[in-house]
Symmetry: C2
Subunit: 267 residues, 2 copies
DNA sequence: ACAATAGTGTCTGTTAGACAGTATCGC
DNA sequence: GCGATACTGTCTAACAGACACTATTGT
């Protein structure tokens, strides 16, 4: 086959799949929809759908996100300039999955996106979706997954998205994407603890985040909370990269080994 | 449109594009091929081509890499298990580009892969490629790019690949992918200096890399070099992640700001 | 001897991690 | 007062960066 012959190329379907993460009740949760059709009818799956013929990839992801959660996307720095501020979720491309038989009906290449959102009232089912739910990631991926598993290769995609979120809050200010517009240092710490699944020392955490220039901007206000000294309120500062980074405890112990960088099994 | 209707979906072409990087003469170089056909006839472009109907994405990337450089790929940890050891380049998925009009003829979604290779004798043109060349990245991306630019959005893809390589050698042992099987600490240092474009202190570099367990394995041999004490030879150890990481000088100065995490403009 | 590269030791400033201690709320 | 959370200060071990010094080659 000649390179780029416009008439002779194998036809593919291209979809987007969304790993939408939030923190609820101190645990990291992912958004799932229940499939109404075959294959994997009745299974839980990641939200997603076809990319339209005249639509960019991230626009398709933002559209699907809005259709199923009514969240407006806030694209990552270099990704797209089409959003209004408002209540936005962070949205970035994750990885593309295209094993020949990942969809039993036809050849589908799926571009996965990662969205990080603050805790939402509760998701309303949108277009062509029966039911929607937030599921703790731990139940979907850990040892004790009682579920039957997710549709397609969505368990792998979810795992990759979770790993991306876990590593990205180390060296970027992205953890604030999980917080409401104004938040306290304690709330931000609970975000880190939930995403990493590890307790952090409140004193050192406080010193670290308040000492990183550009990470947090004090708003002047304070919170009244049940039982405890009122806390200062902050909003996200302009910084996107954290240097030095937040260090994740148990960072592979002695310092090397064979931890995965891209844990995907896509092809 | 109903979700996942196997008959009603917009047809896409899916390609892979390769950012193949190596270090020659102390500068980071990328592999380019000259386009023989329209559009962008005569322009330099990244190697790439159509994904076959029954072929995985990384298999397509490895096939194209071999067709155009005769390099066998060595996939990153989680990506695929189909390679023999041998003289392999590191290969990992970079990012997917799918803006509606990035190819003027039709809707093409391109999955870009990043390959890191040791310095090669010289590339021989392979299938359906007129000429191949290694071009210093600095000339393709920096201020002083005299060229007419690359075909399609390949300049953006190249920039993303270079940025990925630059950041990944910080926290992984991937710099050894640029080295021959046996190498000295000085050679490894020149890799870092070429990729980052910064001089490093030889003494501190030596202490750092030899002190990181699992990074380097001494082979026992030494090199005879012109003018200088012979150096110990090493091969890559089993470690994949470096903890603590190698620190890139001028790491954004005071520690925050607005550096891009994904500098792409894909959609 | 001299240039050149390899490799070691030493000092200093910064920071992560541990944790004592103080501040300010609800009860 | 007491529990709880917010915040500040202090100590120590580890490490990055700077750089003096020694080692071993070719010319």
């Amino acid at each position: 086959m000649s390179r780029y012959d416009p008439t002779a190329f194998p036809p593919f379907a291209v979809t987007v799949d969304l790993v939408v993460l939030t923190v609820r009740d101190n645990s990291l949760c992912a958004l799932l929809v229940r499939r109404a059709e075959e294959p994997f009818q009745g299974f839980w799956a990641l939200p997603g759908g076809f990319v339209r013929a005249d639509e960019g990839l991230i626009e398709a992801a933002a559209r699907k996100l809005y259709e199923e959660t009514f969240l407006r996307a806030q694209a990552a720095p270099g990704q797209e300039p089409d959003q209004r501020p408002g209540t936005g979720a962070h949205l970035e491309q994750l990885r593309t999955y295209g094993k020949p038989l990942r969809d039993p009906r036809m050849r589908v290449v799926s571009v996965a996106y990662l969205a990080l959102a603050p805790d939402l009232p509760t998701p309303r089912p949108g277009l062509d979706v029966n039911s929607v739910r937030w599921a703790p990631v731990e139940e979907l991926l850990g040892e004790k997954k009682g579920d039957q598993g997710l549709a397609f290769d969505h368990e792998q995609i979810l795992a990759d998205g979770v790993e991306r979120a876990r590593s990205k809050i180390e060296y970027s200010a992205l953890a604030t994407a999980f917080c409401p517009e104004e938040f306290t240092v304690g709330e931000l710490r609970r975000i880190y603890e939930a995403v990493w699944g590890t307790p952090l020392d409140p004193r050192n955490f406080h010193r670290k985040v308040t000492g990183t220039p550009g990470f947090l901007l004090p708003t002047g206000g304070t919170t009244t909370r049940q039982g405890g000294r009122p806390a200062q309120l902050f909003r996200a500062g302009g910084a996107t990269v954290l240097n030095p980074p937040m260090l994740r405890p148990d960072n592979s112990g002695s310092g090397n080994g064979s931890a995965a960088s891209g844990s995907g099994n896509a092809s």
